[in-house]
């Protein structure tokens, strides 16, 4: 009897707990869509885009869909907590899928945010990272990106969608960024966001990749160089579009010489060739693609023409890659991960050269081989037959 009484008492006592002690009612919370980390040189600036409660069914939607809040403090943790001084709800930080880093912070010191990124259990490793170029995270969060309700969510969709459309940039999540920051022989790069236009016409756009060296942003890659970098990273993009001139035409290109090629798949291998202390990077790319727009007047049915187009396409891809390598070497930042590749294939050599790697990297020659295969011409066998 006493045993049954004890068990009953124990079971009833669990009701007093009311679930976990840190439980929170949904009505007391607000969903965080994106965080912004920046600095003014003296303090850290923390901003967040938060979703406002949508109208109930049948109600007209009139008010704003989101709010942007900002705070400054010596640490991001304190700035985020200080939001509670003006925010009546508890922010759900772990719901955020995007983090935008201000250019000033990126150029100053990435260690100012990597610690909170790894220490804080409310920040996930799969959150996407961007650098706000020439603007602030807070300004980016203010921009409306129809048909999306929130720029934080829009950024995630834009970067994901473009990997199969324009195919210039690749998404970088927190885990990949931290991996490249903490592993020797590779440096991180992040997509940059800029603001275009003024007032209501302001729109955000991904433009270039921020290049880091050690714990600082040291420069950027342009569109061509960014595509080159994406091509050097297996699976970074799904498709991309690039233009070549009609084979055999010299001089400045005119619109009627243009052929647009869609790259549909690629395989890349980067292997160091080492003789003594002489290092050469052998890069081999095998790509496939289609003609998606052809304004020229040649006959792509002919094998020689098709071959010439393939060679021109390979040349164009090679130019992108070379341009990326030149810029990375100029910035002294091994964003391609050549050092990592050497450390994996020649660990003894890596132990010797690791300390001097930035200087060695800048002078490493590369041997780039690109093979391009034309697969389809879509619904048109040849150029459109004009009368």
């Amino acid at each position: 009897m006493a045993k049954k009484f004890l068990i009953t008492l124990l079971l009833i006592s669990f009701l007093l707990l009311g679930g976990c002690l840190d439980s929170t009612q949904v009505g007391d919370t607000i969903v965080v869509l994106a965080h912004g980390w920046d600095t003014d040189g003296k303090t850290k600036l923390f901003s967040a885009q938060m979703a406002l409660t949508p109208p109930r069914e049948g109600e007209m939607e009139t008010g704003p869909k989101f709010m942007v809040v900002s705070e400054r403090a010596p640490s991001f943790a304190e700035a985020a907590r200080n939001l509670s001084l003006s925010l009546p709800r508890l922010p759900l930080w772990s719901m955020a899928d995007t983090i935008v880093i201000g250019e000033e912070l990126a150029r100053l010191n990435t260690n100012l945010f990597t610690d909170i990124a790894t220490r804080n259990p409310r920040i996930r490793y799969n959150v996407l990272l961007f650098v706000a170029k020439g603007t602030t995270p807070s300004e980016i969060f203010q921009v409306e990106v129809p048909p999306e309700d929130y720029s934080g969510t829009a950024l995630e969709r834009i970067i994901e969608n473009q990997t199969g459309q324009a195919g210039i940039y690749f998404p970088m999540n927190m885990k990949d960024f931290l991996f490249e920051t903490s592993t020797s022989g590779v440096e991180p790069s992040l997509p940059q966001i800029i603001l275009e236009g003024r007032g209501d016409q302001t729109k955000l756009k991904i433009q270039g990749m921020a290049v880091f060296k050690g714990c600082q942003m040291v420069g950027s890659l342009n569109e061509q160089q960014s595509r080159g970098l994406a091509l050097l990273k297996p699976g970074a993009i799904k498709r991309t579009i690039f233009n070549i001139k009609q084979p055999g035409t010299d001089g400045p290109g005119i619109l009627s010489d243009n052929i647009a090629i869609e790259l549909t798949s690629y395989q890349v291998k980067a292997k160091p060739s080492i003789k003594g202390k002489d290092i050469v990077m052998n890069i081999s790319i095998k790509a496939k693609g289609n003609i998606i727009e052809d304004n020229s007047n040649h006959n792509t049915d002919e094998p020689q023409i098709a071959k010439a187009i393939e060679q021109a396409a390979a040349q164009a891809l090679r130019r992108d890659i070379e341009s990326c390598i030149n810029q990375a070497q100029a910035l002294n930042s091994d964003i391609m991960g050549w050092g990592l590749s050497i450390s994996r294939s020649h660990p003894e050599l890596w132990q010797e050269i690791e300390g001097d790697w930035p200087e060695i990297f800048a002078g490493i020659p590369s041997n780039i081989k690109v093979e391009f295969k034309l697969i389809q011409t879509y619904l048109q066998k040849d150029v459109f037959p004009l009368r």
Binding site: L21, D22, P121, Y125, N173, F179, T183
Partner: protein, 344 residues
Amino acid sequence: MLAEVSGHNSWLTVLATIIPGLLLIYVYCGLLKKSSQPFPQMLEEHLGIAGRIIALFYVLVFLLLASLYLRFFVEFLSITVLHNTPTGLIIMALLIPGVYTIRSSLEVFARVSEVILWVFLPLAMLMLQVSSTEHPDIGNLMPLAFMGIKDFIYSVYLNLWHFANIIIILTLAYFSLQREQIPRLLLTSLVSLALFLALSIMVVIITLGAALASSSTFPLFEIARSASYAGFIRNTEPIFVSIFMLGLYVSVVSFLFIACYSTQQVFRLKDYRFLAIPSTLLVAFHSLLIGPSTATMFKILHFSAPLIFGFFFVLIPILLYILLLFRPHKVNLQSGSGLQSPET
């Protein structure tokens, strides 16, 4: 912790630990053959009064290990998902069923553990499989087996005390109906434990890389946190925590049971079950007092635990086995025949 020492080759060191693990199994099986009494009574059987004193130390060591596992579990929960829940409540949540299990008998614990294994394994494998799809890089495992011999030996040493937890077989074997199958069972346990651990570490290294894995407090939790099922089911780490909780329950209760049973043996008590509540209270308080912070806790796990448990679980059994090789002992096969439960 292991990744700090052996980096991307941590998983290989786990596999390499199978070799000293086999030696350990050989020693344990040898001790079982040469002893009439279950552990720790076998110490008294072979060493007399000195053995009884050593057995008393073993009681403390088992209690210490149960506290250590419990504290690790509390740290894990309070850091990862239950940030504001008082540690006392977390401890109660684990120990109340633990006390109930110990008081219910060894058979109940064995059956519960069996069920837990079949729940734990598929969920753990699913979690590892899903986590490994998040931007994995198999190249993170390269260069294969490139590490200093000193780091390699230290890593194997760090792993060995975990493997040596199978010392509880020295007690449990005497309640088995099929003692002749114990060596095969131990071998299976050792290999499956090594494979599972190596696989888990491999997934962590492939997903996070050695540098991130070594700096992270709970790297397995990190990869579970970033796992995404079918691209949209996220935030599933509480499931991972639940799996972990089941495993920890078995670890803590195993050593609590052995501590209670050893106390009964050392002090010639009639039963061990009434010791469940006082032992549990000791473990609960000790788990709180064991260290003031998480950092201290990890230092204990890194430096003190391998030393203490290596001494008691590896060195003493080996020394005892060597002693018995030179001092033949008549074994009473009637005693501890496997037909009697520890409750009788």
